[in-house]
Symmetry: D2
Subunit: 368 residues, 4 copies
C-alpha cells in the first residue's frame, strides 16, 4: 500500500538512493526472541555485492550493515529492526552531462514524468542498490524460517539460451551453488554462461537470464485465499525486483501446453505424510502450500545499461545519444546478483505467510 513497504505482518520498509549517504531498511513485525546479529546479514550481503568476479560490475560495495534498533542481548525484541548500510564508492560526477538525457530502458523518464524531479545520480531510488536492503531483511527472515526447519535457496537457471540442469537434492545443490562464482549448480552449463557473459561484457553489451528458487519443508497451509495466495505474493515480490519481466511457479508457462491428466499431481502417502507423486503445482494448490517443495522461476531482462551508444531524446525532446561515461561500471548480466535477492524475497514471503497462518483457526496454543 505504501510503495516502499512490503509484507503484511513481517514487513519491511526500505529507503535510500544509490548515491545518497546511506540506504536502509526497517523490519517491523519480526517476532521476539529470534537470535540475530550483523554477521549473518553481512554474510548474505556479500553474495549480492559486485566487484568480486569478472561477471559482475566492478563497483566495490563492501557493504557493512549496522543494526540500529530492535535487538537486546542478541535477540529480537518485537520492536522494529532498523538496519543501515552506508554508501561508499559513489561517484556522481561522470553522470552529470547525462542528467537531462532519457536513458533507454531506465527509470529517469518515468520518474521525471511521475514526480517532476529525479535524483539521477547512479539511478537514484530506482537503482538496484535498493535490493541490498531486501537481502539484509531476508537474512533475518531466513533465521525465522530456519527455526521452523524451512530451507530455501536460489540459483542461476538460465543465461541467454543456456539452461542449467538441476537434478540434485537440496543440500547437494546448495553446495554446488556456493562453489560457482555465478551461483549456477550445473558447473558445465555455468562455464558456458560465464563465457557468454564475458563476451557480452567485451562487446559493451548485456544479456538476460532466469533465476530459480526452491523452498523445502514448508508446512501445509501457508498462503491465504483469495488475494493473498502464496504464489500471488511470490509473483508480487519477484516482479517488484528491478529488471524482471516474468514469473512462473511449478509447471509455469509450460502448463499451457499440457493436458490435465498429465498435469494433475496424484496424492500419495509417504512415511505417514500426504505427498504428491509429481509436483507440477510447484508446492501450491489454490494458493496454499501443499508441503511439497515450492519451486518457481523469475525472468530478468538484459541490463539496460550498456557501453554501446543508444539513440534517445533529451528531456526537452531533442535527439541525443546515451552512452555510459568512460570508466563507469555496469553489470553485464543482472541475473547473477539477483540470485541472493530472489532468495531474500522468497524468505520474506514465507516468513510473512507463516505468521499470517497463525490467525487462520479459532484455537491455538500460545507458548509463553
Amino acid at each position: 500500500m505504501a510503495s516502499n513497504t512490503f509484507g503484511t505482518i513481517f514487513r519491511i520498509t526500505t529507503w535510500g538512493e544509490s548515491h545518497g549517504k546511506a540506504i536502509g531498511v526497517v523490519i517491523d513485525g519480526c517476532p521476539a526472541g529470534l537470535e540475530v546479529n550483523e554477521a549473518l546479514i553481512n554474510h548474505v550481503l556479500k553474495k549480492r555485492a559486485p566487484g568480486q568476479t569478472p561477471y559482475t560490475s566492478p563497483r566495490k560495495e563492501s557493504d557493512q550493515a549496522e543494526i540500529l534498533s530492535g535487538t537486546y542481548e542478541g535477540k529480537t525484541t518485537g520492536t522494529p529492526i532498523s538496519i543501515l548500510i552506508p554508501n561508499r564508492d559513489a561517484d556522481s560526477d561522470a553522470y552529470e552531462p547525462l542528467k537531462h538525457v532519457l536513458r533507454p530502458g531506465h527509470a529517469n523518464f518515468t520518474y521525471l514524468e511521475k514526480y517532476g524531479i529525479f535524483d539521477f545520480r547512479g539511478g537514484g531510488r530506482a537503482s538496484a542498490r535498493e535490493t541490498a536492503c531486501r537481502v539484509a531483511a531476508g537474512a533475518i527472515a531466513q533465521e525465522f524460517l530456519k527455526s521452523h526447519n524451512i530451507k530455501t535457496l536460489a540459483l542461476l537457471k538460465q543465461v541467454g539460451s543456456i539452461e542449467a540442469s538441476t537434478p540434485f537434492p537440496f543440500d547437494q545443490t546448495l553446495g554446488l551453488i556456493e562453489s560457482s562464482p555465478i551461483y549456477c549448480p550445473d558447473l558445465a552449463a555455468g562455464e558456458s554462461m560465464m563465457k557468454m557473459i564475458q563476451q557480452a561484457a567485451e562487446n559493451g553489451d548485456s544479456v538476460g537470464g532466469i533465476v530459480e528458487f526452491w523452498a523445502l519443508n514448508l508446512p501445509t497451509g501457508l498462503g491465504d485465499p483469495i488475494y493473498e495466495k502464496l504464489d500471488a505474493k511470490l509473483a508480487n515480490a519477484m516482479m517488484s525486483l528491478p529488471a524482471t519481466k516474468g514469473f512462473e511457479i511449478g509447471s509455469g508457462f509450460h502448463a499451457a501446453s499440457m493436458m490435465g491428466s498429465e498435469h494433475n499431481d496424484a496424492f500419495i502417502e509417504n512415511e505417514g505424510r500426504v505427498e504428491t507423486q509429481s509436483n507440477h503445482a510447484g508446492g501450491v494448490l489454490a494458493g496454499i502450500s501443499t508441503g511439497m517443495p515450492v519451486i518457481g522461476r523469475v525472468a530478468f531482462k538484459p541490463p539496460s545499461t550498456i557501453r554501446k551508444a543508444q539513440k534517445t531524446l533529451t528531456r526537452t525532446g531533442e535527439q541525443a545519444a546515451w552512452q555510459l561515461p568512460a570508466g563507469s561500471r555496469h553489470d553485464p548480466c543482472v541475473a547473477i546478483r539477483a540470485v541472493p535477492v530472489v532468495e531474500a524475497m522468497l524468505n520474506l514471503v514465507i516468513a510473512d505467510a507463516l505468521l499470517m497462518d497463525r490467525c487462520s483457526q479459532a484455537s491455538y496454543s500460545p507458548v509463553l
Copy 2:
C-alpha cells in the same frame, strides 16, 4: 492484507461460495460521480458465463448482478458499491460421496489442512465462480478508465501449443475477439484451438492456455516504486486467479535470451509525445507506465477437474480414486473463460494506479 480484498484505493472485497446462496463484491474507493448501472455489469458477466458454447462447462450461470448500494440517481456517490449475484443451478448432491477424497490438483486438501474445515460443495470458496465478482467490479473500473480515455482488452493467445497471431491495432483486434466464441482474434488459429479443446473434452481431459492483455492510452507515471510497481501489481492480480502458473510483461521470459542492445527501447518523438520505437518493456519502466501499450500474458494450467479417474487418497490416508460424478460439468479449457477475468483484473489494477498517482506530487488542482 486481508485475503479477500484487492486494491489500495479502488479496492474490492469479494465473498461467497460456489454453492451458497449468493456471491458478491463490495467496491470501496470508487470515486463519486461515475455513471454506472447493472446493465453494464451484466453485459460483461455474460462473457464469463459458461454454458454458451461447446468449449466451456455446460453449467448454466445466467448471472444477474444486483447493485445494492453506492449509487444515487445512476451515479456513484463515493460510498461502497455492493453487488450481489445469486447462485442458481447448484447441485451439491453428486459430490457428496467425494467429500472425504483428496481431489488432485484441487483445493480441498490445502483448505482442510489450513482451516480444518472445507465447504466442498462445488469447490466452495476455491471455485472459479468467485471470479464473477471480479468481473462485476472490473466493469465498474472500466467505466472509470473510459472516462480517462484508457482502452483495455484481453484475448486467448494460446491453447496447447497453438499460438494466435495478433498483428492488428486495438479496435480491429477487439472486433475479432468479439466475433470469436473463444475470444481468439486469430480466427484460423482459433479454429484449431476449438478442435483441440473439443478433442480434450471428448477424451474426458483438459488443456492449458495463455491469455494476453493490452492496455492503451495510459498516462505516463502510473505505478509506484518500489513495491507498488505497476507490473508487480499486475503479476499479483493475475497470479491471484485460479489455475494460473505464470505471468509475464512485455518481452517476458523471452527477455532472458535477448541482448541489452536488442532489448532497450529507443526513445523517439511522435507528434510531440515521447514514445519508444519498440516496446519490449511492455509499457512499464522501473514499475511506472511509459505511456506505451501495457502488454502481458498469463499462463493457465489445464483444469484439474477431468472425467478420467485419478489415483488419490482419502482424507484419512486410504487409497482412493477421484472421478467426476456422472452428469457433472467441467471446463475443458479454463483459459477461455479467464479472458474476461484477466481483463477485469487489468482494469482494477489500472484504476487503482490512476487514483494512487494523484498523490504523487505536492500540488494538484481539485475539480470542484
Copy 3:
C-alpha cells in the same frame, strides 16, 4: 485505509445506505471453526433496534440478518462471512423538500462538499443505520471472545448531567443492564434519565450522553506498540461512531488533575497472578493489556435531528430553515441505542488484538 473497512486481521467492511435496498457487512479474517448462526446475530441486533421503548425513535427496524457465506455446517470456514440486512419501513418522500437544505449538525453539507453528490434519503450512508452492520459483526467477534473466556459489556453511564453509579461486579451489572429499557444498571439514575429524555422528546429537543464499556479476562499482552496500542484502537473504533465527541480510558480526563503518586497502580499478587491494586490505567499500560479490566467511556452529542426549526442555508447559499417533516421520526438520545454498538466495537477491537498477538513471538504451537 479504506474508509468502509475496520480491523487488521479480524476485519469488517460495511456497505449500504439508510433507504437503499439493504445494508450489510463482510467479515474477513474470522478464524475457522467457530460456531455461529443468524439467531445470535439477531439477538444482539434487537438491542440496537429502535421502536421498542418511548426513549428511542419509533422507526420500526425489526432487523433480520441473513448469513450469505462463510459458514458450513454451522461453523465458520475461514472464508468471508457476508451478512445482509434488508431495509424496511423506509419512507424517503417526506425528506424530498429538504433535499437542498443544509441540515445543521448533519452530514449533507460535508458529503456534498466532498463528493459533489449525496444520497440524502434518511441520511444515506451517514445514517446511524450503518451501525447495525457493526452490531452484527460484533456478535460474531463476541463468540470468538467467549471461546477465550473474555467477557464484555456496555452501559449507559450518563444522560445530560445525570450520572449512573456502577459499583457492582460484572455479572450483576449485566443483569441490571438487561432489566433496564435504556441499558442503565443504576435503576434510580435510570429513572431520572428516562424522565429527562422524555422531556426532551416532548420539547422537540434532544440530549447527549455517555456510554461506558468493560472488558474482563483479557490475557496480558494484547495491543501492539506504537501505533496499534489497544487504547488507540479503541479510541479509533469509538470515534468512528456517529455523534461521538470524546473518548477516554481508565482515569480519562480526570487524570489531568491527579498526581503521579495517586495515579500509579501498584502491582500486587492475587492467587498467583500479577494484578494491580487500583486500575487508573483502565487495563492498559503502554498500549498493551495488563489483564485487569479494560474500562472506558464514549461521549455522544445530543442528536442533531430535532423537531425545532433551525436556521440554515440552502445548498446554493440562500437563507432557509430546516425542520423535521411532520410524522418523521428521530431519537431524542442517541446514547441509548449506542450501547450495543459500543459493545460491538469493543468486541471487534479485542478480537483483532487477540489474533494480532499470535504473531508477537518467534515460537508458538499450532493446534491442528
Copy 4:
C-alpha cells in the same frame, strides 16, 4: 496495521529505543516537489527537547536530525525520507538493579508479558523518546500543510485543575505560546501551572495535564467516512501517544450535558463561504471537515516515573519497591513536552487526509 507505522498515504514508520544507538523515522508518501531541510526539523525538535526549563526533565537531548534520503537539491522527490536522530547522554547503568522489578504505571510488565523480552534501558521502545521521530516527521507534514495555507498549533490547556483561557485569534495565540516556557498562551494561568509543576517536582511527584490543538483553513471535505473519519483518525493518532488517557473534539465530553437545540451549529454565509455560527462540532461533521477550525483536546496522565518509592513486585512475583535511581531524571509534567508532539500528530493526520481526499471524485486536474 504494522505497529510502528502511522498513516495511509503520508505514512511514517518509526524505530529505535531510548538508549540504543539512534532513533529514526522513514516518511513514505510525502509528495514530490516540497522544499524541506534539516533546519526546519531541528527547529521543531528543539521545542520537544527536555533540559531547557525547570519544568521538564534535565536529560539533555540536543537532538540533531539528519536527512539520509528522499530529497534532491533541497526538494522531496517522492521517495522515502529517512531521518536519523542519534541518541546521546544515555546512561543505562543506574537502571540495572531495577531490571527485574515491575515499574508501576510503566511498560516493562506488559512488554515482558507480550514479548518475553524487554530492553529496559531508559524505557526502551516504550520511552517517550520515540515521539521525537513523530515531531521530525510532523515538521515535514507541516510544510505540506503550509503549501495549502493550513495553520496548526497546540497549547498547554490545563495542568492539575488549572485551566488556561484561550480567547484570542490564531496568530496572537501562537505568539503567546512561543513566549511561554510551558507553551501556555494564558500567561497568568501559566504562572500558576509552573508553580504547581515545580511543587510536584520538589515533592518527587508528578502532575497531569491537557493539551489542546487547533487547525485552521482546512478545506471542506477532508476525512473519509465511515472508518477513516477525520476525528477518528485524530483520536487514534493522539491516543497512540504515551501517557494519554482521553481525547475529545469540539464540545467533547461536555456535549453529554447539552441539548440538541443548543449544540447544533447553524449554517451561515460569511463573505461568500458557508460557515457555522458556533463550532461545537469542532470543525468536523460526519467525520468530514466543514472548513471551520478543527479543535480538540488530549488528556495526559501524571508521569508514572516519580521519585517517591512505590510498592510493586519483581518479575518473579516477590514483593519489591521501585524507586528512581539517585541522579536519574524525570519529567514532572509530560503534558508540556507533549505540546509539539500533539501538533506533529495533527499535522500528520491532516496531510494524510489532504492526499486521500484527492481520490474522492471521478475527475481531477493533474498539475504537471
